[in-house]
């Protein structure tokens, strides 16, 4: 077994017992990246030198007997919309192609403080707007289970890095499913924590009231390890939640007795792959078999949720992305006057999906339309919150699919934004409600592609999500969750997209 095939928890144990050095671990991941990433394209920027430097420092620290964080020396990949000091942070956009932040995001600083070597910055849909990572201005990322297919998005790079053994852990961001949907499509575990649980400081804003940094990992325990590190109040983020952070790795023994689980019944399952629905039902049956009280919960506002989301998120985005005007940083086009400079910079710097959302948002916030669109969408959001509160009076946990379909083909939906938007339909209402939500591998489609389950709990109940995910891990059996990647060994497989 290669070092890159281990979970973060195993690596942590091996490092602490000095079976391996961090330099060895990092080398193994770097070799794996060399081997597969020119094909999968998970990374926008690789940082082998700094990763090895950090690993070397941690190793000497350990030799000196320093008291180190459990994750010290365990490498990590970071989504390229999370600011890293002196390391370019592009958001997969031409407009920030050469932007180097002078400060660390609070989450990135936490990772550095713990001594985790950073392997690089992962690909995403431009400014996290998309569900397939095809909207990256640089290149699409491929799904390691089938290179013809998308990895999901927007945190596609982070999901692929973990799924393909290029990183044991990764940070991502989830606005309307951007961690959970790609985790589901790549067969890994992805957590969107409660809104405000992880500081947003340094996360390049897409839709501020929805953006949340989260984790991508091989399993729930690894997720807990990384969550321990990044969760907590941050005085630099007014919307971050106060209160102590529990040890998320504690109390994760699978236990489902008496757990009240609401299986989400959608008002319409049009566009849902029947095998997805089947997987959810099997999971519900498994829970019931092990003592859970399983019932049905209908979230009738799901359909409106998608519409509300696609008004609120673009509205905030239209404002958040105004700052890319070519004056202070980033791409700048020349112009005879300020208006031409602004419009050329933005016209040339932004890709089509970003432009589409900026226009939708600008329209929705305009005088005369605000009440009909933005305000109405916010009212729907309030109703959705209430619907969740109601559901959580009856149930401790909601169970559903993390994506309506397994991974779709590259190019399949890129020309049809509405179809693309629908691929987040399972994820979006959780985001609007601000509740924690986790995608955990639930099985495989007959095509061999992974399928994910989505677990949702009350605010700050991440532990319950992790505990239940552990239950599914325990009953998964001996199925390999690693993609074979034979196509790469066979010399690159089919032609590049």
């Amino acid at each position: 077994m290669q070092l890159y095939e281990h979970t973060a928890a195993e690596l942590s144990r091996m490092l602490q017992s000095r079976e391996v050095s961090s330099v060895e671990v990092v080398r193994s991941f770097l070799e794996r990246i060399d081997q597969v990433d020119s094909y999968l394209k998970a990374f926008i920027t690789q940082t082998p030198v700094t990763a090895l430097d950090t690993a070397g420092e941690i190793d000497s620290g350990r030799m000196r007997g320093e008291n180190l964080h459990p994750l010290a020396g365990v490498p990590v990949a970071i989504k390229d919309n999370i600011s890293t000091m002196d390391l370019r942070t592009t958001c997969a956009s031409r407009i920030l192609e050469n932007y180097i932040p002078p400060f660390d995001a609070t989450a990135a600083a936490a990772v550095k403080r713990a001594g985790m070597p950073i392997l690089g910055k992962t690909n995403l849909d431009e400014f996290a707007m998309g569900s397939s990572t095809e909207n990256s201005a640089f290149f699409p990322t491929r799904n390691p289970w089938d290179p013809q297919r998308v990895p999901g998005g927007s945190s596609g790079g982070s999901a692929v890095a973990v799924a393909a053994g290029m990183a044991p852990l990764a940070l991502g961001s989830d606005t309307g499913g951007s961690i959970r949907q790609p985790a589901s499509l790549c067969g890994v575990t992805g957590l969107r924590p409660t809104y405000g649980r992880v500081s947003r400081y340094g996360l390049v804003a897409f839709a501020s009231s929805l953006d949340q940094i989260g984790t991508v990992s091989l399993n729930a325990f690894d997720c807990a390890l990384l969550l321990n590190l990044v969760a907590g109040h941050d005085p630099l983020d007014s919307t971050s939640l106060p209160g102590a952070v529990p040890d998320y790795t504690a109390g994760l023994e699978p236990g489902t007795k008496g757990l009240r689980v609401g299986v989400i019944s959608y008002s319409s399952t049009e566009g849902f792959d029947p095998e997805v629905t089947e997987t959810v039902q099997k999971a519900a049956a498994l829970l019931e078999e092990h003592g859970a009280e399983v019932g049905e919960v209908s979230l009738s506002l799901t359909d409106y949720g998608l519409s509300a989301y696609y008004l609120i998120a673009p509205s905030e985005a239209s404002s958040n992305l105004g700052r890319y005007d070519g004056i202070r940083y980033g791409y700048s086009a020349a112009g005879d006057n300020i208006e031409t400079m602004f419009s050329r910079t933005r016209g040339e710097g932004f890709g089509p999906e970003v432009k589409r959302r900026v226009m939708i948002g600008t329209y929705a916030l305009s005088a005369g339309y605000y009440d009909a669109y933005y305000l109405k969408a916010m009212q729907v959001r309030t109703l959705i919150r209430r619907e969740y509160e109601k559901a959580f009076k009856k149930f401790d946990l909601l169970l559903g699919a993390a994506s309506p379909t397994p991974a779709f083909k590259i190019g399949e939906k890129i020309g049809d934004p509405l179809q693309m938007y629908l691929s987040d339909v399972c994820n979006i209402t959780d985001s609007l409600a601000g509740v924690p939500s986790l995608a955990v591998p639930g099985g495989f489609h007959s095509s061999g592609l992974p399928l994910g389950l989505q677990l949702t709990a009350r605010p700050l109940q991440e532990q319950l999500l992790l505990k239940t995910a552990r239950f599914f891990e325990a009953y998964r059996g001996q199925v390999s969750l690693r993609p074979g990647l034979e196509f790469i060994e066979k010399g690159g497989g089919s032609s590049a997209v």
């Binding site: 400060f103 390049v204 700052r323």
Partner: protein
């Protein structure tokens, strides 16, 4: 046709905090361009705003001083527009839930005291500053952006359209300034831009209740230019209307050199700023006790103090007005008045010689000890020094900080009085100036002044003038 002028003002004042509204950067004026900046006030990707509590305190204090109704719950909104001085392409401001609703200021205007109502008082962040190549925004080849100012807390005060001339606008602003200075919310330095004023001005036929089309006047950099610009705009609009034309809604710029307003941009309706609630900040919720404490700490405000000074010290209205024009001056007067009962005499010395010497020397009032002026005036009243010596000592007191009491003693400046002391000098002068004595005896009154001058010269100006006069006449 007779027109009525209708003016509403929109005033922005920078609050006197040490750091900016949403980050820890310094608010010091005049640093190297872009030296007081950080990721937050530069709006770098991923940065987030965090409230400065002190700014909220000062804003509430100012709102209370302006009789505005402080809202325990207010909200911040984003005002979206593109401009190079605006780092995030939106200004964090308040829209439909401002910090203060309503409010008023009692102002002495033509025709007596009048209440000028306020629409609202709200808190927002300052933008950066553009420095245009050349001397005007119009036709500049390029501009440079300085973000030192970006993010300084700003209070916006909007008046109802209740002012009716340039003069009224100016008086209102002067009173507003003095009020804000008193409350300690702002230093209100128009020359440094910490107090700025835009005006909406329109004309309507006298007796009409419908507002006419307005022009917005910007770039008025002093109280004087507010008055001049608005008077100019009244004449311009009057001319347009009297020639049968219509006033176009526009934004214009006051050109200080040309003394005229210049159209900056036409406006079609109002700009669409696409306001929406700022998702990066929680609503501003104030404890009732927080507001009450600030209300208790509010100092006596100028209008109240003016009336009290007149009543308590028997001052004339004009004297009280001058002494309350800023807080320090009134404090100085009252500190001195505790030790000196000649209130009006004291007031006269303060507003005359003291202010003159302060202006001349560039010294600040807080460098002067009120007790020293009292010492000086007491010695003058007791006749121990004469008036010219007192004036001279006051000048030195302000310029070089001497203690007049000590100076009088050390330099022997005490007035020479009494027959025994003065007569020998007088007799000597008479002896040495027979010609002048003759002239006086022949009826030339002017000769007496000459002789007085001689005696003064011989006593280094210390002779008691009244007694000297009497003795001299007696002798010749």
């Amino acid at each position: 046709m007779q027109y009525e002028v209708v003016i509403g003002l929109e005033i922005h004042v920078e609050l006197m905090t040490a750091s900016k509204l949403f980050c820890g950067c310094s608010t010091t004026f005049g640093g190297e361009p872009n030296s007081n900046c950080c990721p937050v006030c530069l709006g770098l990707p991923g940065s987030l705003p965090v409230f400065n509590r002190r700014a909220v305190e000062l804003a509430v204090t100012a709102a209370l001083a302006l009789n505005s109704e402080v809202q325990l719950r207010s909200r911040f909104d984003r005002k979206n527009y593109f401009y190079p001085d605006l780092p995030k392409a939106y200004q964090i401001s308040q829209y439909d839930q401002p910090l203060g609703r309503g409010g008023y200021l009692e102002v002495e205007l033509t025709g007596g005291k009048r209440r000028v109502n306020l629409e609202r008082v709200h808190l927002e962040e300052e933008a950066g500053k553009l420095v245009h190549a050349g001397d005007s925004i119009i036709g500049a080849g390029h501009s440079m952006a300085d973000y030192n100012r970006a993010g300084i807390p700003l209070l916006e005060i909007v008046t109802a359209p209740e002012l009716h001339s340039g003069q009224e606008a100016r008086t209102f602003l002067e009173d507003l300034r003095s009020l804000l200075l008193y409350s300690g919310a702002s230093d209100c330095k128009m020359e440094e831009g910490s107090l700025r004023c835009d005006a909406n001005i329109s004309l309507r036929p006298e007796g009409s209740s419908k507002l006419g089309t307005r022009a917005e006047v910007k770039n008025m950099n002093s109280f004087r230019s507010v008055e001049l610009a608005l008077d100019y705009e009244v004449r311009r609009q009057e001319q347009v209307l009297s020639e049968g034309g219509t006033v176009v809604q526009e934004t214009c710029h006051w050109d200080e050199a040309k003394k005229q307003t210049i159209t900056l941009r036409g406006k079609e309706g109002s700009s669409d700023y696409r306001y929406f609630p700022e998702p990066d900040l929680l609503p501003l919720v104030l404890e009732k006790t927080f507001v009450e404490n600030l209300a208790h700490q509010l100092p006596e405000l100028p209008a109240t103090r003016r009336e009290r000074l007149q009543e308590q010290y028997g001052l004339e209205k004009e004297e009280a007005l001058l002494l309350t024009s800023n807080r320090e001056l009134g404090d100085f007067f009252e500190a001195a008045a505790k030790q000196y009962p000649g209130y009006r005499h004291l007031a006269n010395w303060i507003q005359g010689d003291l202010l003159y010497q302060l202006r001349e020397s560039g010294k600040r009032l807080n460098e002067i000890e009120p007790g020293l002026l009292v010492d000086l005036l007491l010695r003058l009243d007791e006749g121990r020094i004469n008036r010219p010596v007192a004036k001279e000592l006051l000048a030195e007191m302000v310029q070089s900080g001497i203690d007049p009491k000590e100076a009088i003693k050390e330099r022997g400046l005490e007035q020479i009085t009494g027959r025994d002391n003065l007569l020998p000098v007088i007799e000597e002068v008479i002896a040495n100036n027979p010609e002048a004595v003759d002239n006086y005896r022949q009826g030339k009154k002017k000769a007496l002044a000459f002789l007085v001058g001689r005696v003064m010269a011989a006593t280094e100006g210390r002779a008691d003038p009244a007694e000297l006069n009497r003795l001299l006449q007696e002798k010749i």
